[in-house]
């Protein structure tokens, strides 16, 4: 179950945060996303620890908290995608697939001539696409 996805710009400004649970802990999810940004920076700036995955876009599991797992993805343009999920057994391929589709939706949203780079993404189409991707992520991993 994905609980939250977030897009964070290159100055660590939030561009899109969407939570998918009914509970009221949106603030806690925002806090988790915020903390994971530090981990992203650390992974990127510490080449010795990252090793062979230095130039990959997919950063993998950032850190597991009490109930959640947080995955990160860094694009070439320094935009970060953060995924927070409560699933206990999540396959790597599923998460990579998710990020690939999410990246495609993000690129389409940013190519909108009315979108101002650096401001929040307000497109309904993007929100709908993201919720479709999130729902199909849940289905495929339950198989």
């Amino acid at each position: 179950m994905i609980v939250c996805v977030a897009v964070v710009g290159h100055q660590n400004n939030p561009l899109y945060i969407q939570s998918f649970t009914d509970a009221d802990d949106a603030l806690k999810l925002h806090h988790i996303v915020h903390c994971s940004l530090d981990v992203v920076d650390e992974r990127v700036n510490n080449p010795k620890k990252s090793g062979p995955t230095l130039n990959e876009t997919f950063l993998g599991l950032l850190y597991p908290t009490e109930n959640y797992k947080v995955y990160g993805y860094l694009t070439n343009t320094k935009v970060k995608f953060i995924l927070v999920t409560t699933d206990l057994d999540v396959r790597d391929a599923d998460v990579r697939n998710f990020f690939r589709r999410f990246h495609a939706a993000y690129v389409d949203a940013v190519s909108n001539p009315f979108h101002v780079p650096g401001k929040k993404i307000t497109s309904r189409t993007f929100a709908d696409r993201v919720s479709t991707i999130v729902q199909s992520f849940g289905l495929s991993s339950s198989v």
Partner: protein, 169 residues
């Protein structure tokens, strides 16, 4: 998602854009027209670089990013790569395209050795108009590079048409 436009439409659109900005919007202020056209190119380059870097791993340094611009980015835009890349290893790069797509329709002036002053001023005007058309691709390069994290200034040089060099600092 997937609809296409013919290349001649793009050529015409650019020609009309340059002439509208120069002759109607900022009729007596070529500096402002140039800035505006370059700003349009900047936004386009910004968005295109997002799209074309999608599948690739991250670049490790500036040279890799410039090579990306020369090869993949230019190929996506113009169906060819940059013909020549020179650098002074101190932050300046010169990209040379021997047959720049958007300039191929422009007439090449035969410059007389001793022209009259009237002919020379007409030629100077022609040169100014030609250089107006280059602000858009300069803006595209600048937008793409700044989205990849490399702030720069881009200028163009058309000493021999239809070859064109872009100087990136």
């Amino acid at each position: 998602m997937g609809r296409e436009v013919s290349e001649s439409c793009i050529d015409s659109l650019l020609t009309v854009m340059v002439s509208t900005y120069c002759n109607r919007f900022y009729a007596n202020k070529p500096e402002l027209a140039a800035r505006r056209i370059e700003a349009i190119g900047y936004q386009v380059g910004h968005q295109l670089s997002e799209r074309y870097t999608m599948e690739r791993p991250r670049f490790s340094d500036h040279l890799e990013a410039i090579k990306f611009i020369c090869k993949d980015f230019w190929f996506e835009l113009f169906k060819k790569q940059i013909d020549n890349l020179k650098t002074n290893h101190r932050g300046t790069f010169v990209l040379q395209d021997n047959r720049f797509c958007w300039l191929t329709r422009m007439s090449i002036d035969q410059s007389p050795e001793n022209g009259t002053s009237e002919e020379l001023s007409i030629m100077a005007d022609n040169k100014a108009m030609q250089s107006m058309h280059l602000y858009f691709p300069c803006g595209i390069i600048r937008g793409a590079l700044s989205n990849l994290g490399i702030p720069c200034a881009v200028s163009a040089d058309i000493s021999n048409l239809p070859a064109c060099s872009f100087v990136i600092e």
